[in-house]
């Protein structure tokens, strides 16, 4: 009898442990909004990040042109839902409208986080986003994190 209870307890604790580990891992993930190390901006609100990526504001306070860059894949989906608070359909429609009415083009599109780091590190005025886990020491030398969102 005692043996059976112990086995059940063990099974329950294993399942609970696995779930806890999973949710901790999820809660721990963060997306960093990054700018070139030489930028004068040290932090931005989520609304300001949104306005730069939607090209509602196209200059940094210093007068430098804002050069947003977006990446494909999972990080883009997180960025849309957590920062821009738009669905991918809304985002696509937004840019069709902006292209039509204001001759504006969407942010430059690159393949992955590595390309974002390369672009933002090399270009004055650039702003992008990468998963915090992908920011190694080399990347941190070239970039400044100005906003972080958890997901």
């Amino acid at each position: 009898m005692m043996k059976r209870i112990s086995r059940r307890l063990l099974a329950v604790s294993l399942v609970f442990g696995a779930l806890t580990h999973e949710s901790t891992a999820r809660a721990g993930r963060q997306l960093a909004i990054v700018v070139n190390r030489g930028a004068s901006t040290s932090s931005l609100t989520a609304d300001a990040v949104k306005s730069y990526f939607l090209k509602q504001h196209k200059q940094w306070p210093s007068g430098e042109k804002v050069r947003p860059v977006q990446q494909e894949g999972a990080a883009h989906a997180v960025f849309l839902s957590k920062v821009l608070k738009m669905s991918s359909a809304d985002y696509e429609r937004y840019w069709l409208e902006r292209k039509y009415s204001a001759a504006e083009t969407p942010p430059k599109n690159v393949e992955d986080a590595e390309a974002v780091v390369k672009f933002v590190g090399a270009m004055n005025g650039a702003i992008g986003y990468v998963d915090v886990g992908q920011l190694d020491a080399k990347a941190r030398d070239k970039l400044r994190v100005i906003h972080v969102v958890s997901y």
Binding site: D47, A48, S51, Q56, H57, K58, Q59, G63, K65, S87, S88, A89, D90, E92, R93, L96, E97, K99, Y100, S101, A103, T105
Partner: protein, 397 residues
Amino acid sequence: MPRFATKLLAALFLATATNAEAQELSLNAFGDLNYGYRFGAPARESDAESFAAFGEDIHPKNSHSGFGLVGTDFVLTAELPWDMVYLGEINFQVERGQQSEFEIDVERMFLEKRFAEELNVQAGLFFTPVGYFNRTLYSRAFLMTSAQVPDLFEEELGIVPTHTVGMQVHGQVTPGGEHRLGYALSVGNGRAKNPIDNVYARDDDGWRSVTAMLEWSAPWANEFRFGVSGWADRIRSYRVTQLGEVRDTTDPTTESMRLRELGFDAHLVLKSRWVNFIAEGVYQRHDDDLGNLPAAEADTRVLGGLVELSMNLGPEGSIKPFVRYDRVDLPDNAGPYLGLRSEEEAITRVFVAESSMGMAGVAWDPAPSWRLKLEYSRAFTGPREMNAVVAQSAFAF
């Protein structure tokens, strides 16, 4: 638009498109296919009779009975070196009142230099910076929630000057937080001797039109805009008093007229997670500048507007039930100018009707680049049949 000018501009469009060493090129297209069914008696019998005798096409192009293809619109945007942007927009569209004739219409073609967020300079053919609808939605069905283009902004009715050839400066300042104050100021060739022609190549009347717009955007909801705009022009044309009368403009007995045009527009736009609201109103007046018009024509007014309310329901707000009301009030005989139409040296007067219409329907976005609409409209005044149902499939890519 004259045919030779269309061909010249189309050639320029293609030449520029292929030769520009653009950093970023983007090509988009917009189009729509419609099926309409109109029924019932005319909303106003006397208007229908005048229209039958002296009118142009009675219906907006996308609401005839039967299938209707309005056309396809191509927009090329090129980001060029030195912060220059080129935009060319060509429309392959059915001519109003025609069953099968397509025309090539250059909607816009301009070059823009972006000096700073506060200062951009544009030169070419652009949408007159008036209001919201004309600058943002124009006649692109895909961008609209409802199906029919309001008469007020229908280029082929010429009530409001929808396009300008000239120069424009525009930009925005940030008064605080995420608030933005946008402005636009344009100077252009203005109105021709009839209201549906654009003065592309030359403007001999010695005056230019001036348009100014101010728009406040607030970070409330998904989009909030409130704007006012105004325009002033002087129009030189000919007096044609009777519907259907044709005058030769080279005949010295044809009486000249000069009008001062002043227009005002106010708009309010709110787009939130659940509800969208658009309201826009126009007031326009024409005043006799030579003092030779009789009292009834010397000082005339146009009032018009639209209000649209829609909701975002379903997954990602893709189902949008909507209601809209449009109204255009015109002076007797549409005043001295709005009914004029010309072809080379001949000028005549057609019947332009007032309109008052209510619409209700639903738009559904099955994909980000595809919008389906079903709309019922009821005409309260004007020559159109009282009832219409329009099904529309609009796309963009």
